[in-house]
Symmetry: C2
Subunit: 312 residues, 2 copies
């Protein structure tokens, strides 16, 4: 069963273009494959989830790192988190600007400070002190993100509806060969959000939770709904009560729908390596790697496979 | 049983000065009494917890608002949160500067935006747009805070040990006459923290949780430990499983001690109005008001009372 990694590329609806769907699925498989390679080489679960998320931040198809949605003022502000199930240690950045890979900064917060979350300009300052290069805001913007930003500035636009349709938060959960568990999540947040908005992704228990005794969860979806029900911790709690990764994920997502009228999805893994990719949205891009097989899907009920050795 | 409010003024050790102890207890009673007055006049639970926390932010004895500890660079950066158990709506500010009452800004985030947390300079900008005056950083600093900051800059100083001894995060939980539940928490954070550090107080599920179906919790203690176990949501979970407010609080705090080696305390209330003030630290300043009686205490086992009508 071990090692295992599962990744997601956001819950919602991908624009109905076959080419984009295929590219999104390829991005998922590539991230799962690379992360699985880290694990197979004896790398830690933390190394594996950070590598998966780094690749997805670099992939402009997803709303994280390059490809992030823009704030109402046309900027790029990102949230990211990593959590180590061995110690419950975690690191996060909130509303950080001008770094290519927020998840790397989150990991440095975890490894190099006594704190667990740094925000805004101070997070960038810390990143620079740690040797992370500052990049231009423009380098993080895609034409697609700029187009959507402009569209949502229109007086009759509804960013909530727009966002519900097209998400792209990325995340990963993994169990390494030693049985250690970790997760990471990264996002550009909510389309046309206010400057300084911190969403679920920066918040332990909301946008991530990992505990070696139980498992790990990386959610995606409507951030404020995820926060209202502390979705990641809620699903871990159901698992502690004996539910499977799949049952717990479904229960948590159903609870979020009922209490907070929010749709979303998760990748979840338990301590034995049983994984689940579940969602209440129309679609969620996901992939998982286990026993040298890559699983992936986009719509409910899909579970395509290919050998892990095969290139996308 | 209703209405009821319980407040805390931080877990830890108050410097052994009888005069300071008495002033801290008076501050607790005053906040509980004023908040109880809001509830008796038919005010909402949200109104009541915000009023209690506002008073404690204004009281220089506590580590919130005026009286906050300083960052390593001698600044004042505050976290605050409010949560409405009716809707699970919440508002928070993280690492906000130059506002007298972060809890008021947190409430405006909840009431006036579609988001749940704003960070740093953007939170201040939002506050100003909402008509909250910007104040000087100096106006938030007390001589005591400056003295402790200087002391902890010494090469052999240990801010963690120093902070473990002297906390002062403030918080409140309340149930109003209609049975609605709310909580609020506010803090200057961790002594000599890095600029931009976001602690548990800004994070839903960590520094606050309120749910009309269950109850509410406002924690205090070592922020990073509270975050590791998402303490407020954890205690609500235990209550959902049938534990009393007191049992659930003790279980949550014991779990935090075991898993995250952290001490702290909470005020907790259930939907019927049963309240608890529990802590694993040596002391926690707390007070509660119910049935026209003010309860208060500082050391384990204390439960002093005085009529709610009496002045401190």
């Amino acid at each position: 069963m071990l090692p295992v990694v599962a990744v997601h590329g956001g819950a919602g609806t991908i624009p109905k273009e076959k080419e984009r769907e295929m590219a999104v699925c390829a991005g998922m498989r590539d991230a799962a494959r690379a992360s699985y390679g880290v694990l197979k080489a004896g790398g830690s679960a933390v190394d594996a989830v950070v590598e998966a998320v780094r690749l997805l931040e670099d992939n402009p198809l997803f709303n994280a790192g390059r490809g992030s949605v823009l704030t109402v003022n046309g900027g790029v502000e990102m949230d990211a988190i990593v959590m180590d199930g061995r110690t419950l240690a975690s690191g996060a950045v909130a509303a950080v600007k001008r770094v290519a890979n927020p998840v790397k900064v989150a990991r440095l917060v975890m490894d190099k400070t006594s704190h667990m979350c740094l925000a805004a300009d101070s997070a960038l300052q810390f990143a620079k002190e740690m040797g992370i290069p500052e990049v231009s805001e423009e380098s993080l913007k895609t034409d697609y993100a700029v187009m959507r930003w402009q569209k949502n500035l229109a007086p009759d636009a509804d960013p909530v509806v727009s966002q519900m349709g097209k998400m792209g938060t990325v995340g990963a959960v993994a169990v390494d060969v030693e049985g250690n568990i970790a997760c990471a999540t990264s996002t550009g947040g909510f389309i046309n959000k206010m400057d300084g908005r911190v969403g679920d992704t920066a918040l332990i228990g909301c946008g991530a939770y990992a505990d070696n005794r139980v498992g790990a969860v990386s959610p995606t979806g409507y951030g404020e709904a995820i926060m209202k029900v502390t979705l990641a911790r809620l699903i871990i709690f159901y698992m502690e009560q004996g539910k499977s990764a799949e049952e717990a994920s479904d229960l948590g997502l159903a609870y979020m729908k009922e209490r907070a009228q929010g749709l979303g999805g998760v990748v979840t893994v338990d301590s034995r390596g049983v994984w689940a990719a579940r969602f209440t949205s129309l679609q969620m891009a996901w992939a998982a790697a286990q026993d040298d097989v890559i699983h992936y899907g986009l719509f409910h009920g899909e579970d395509f496979t290919q050998p892990a050795q095969q290139q996308s």
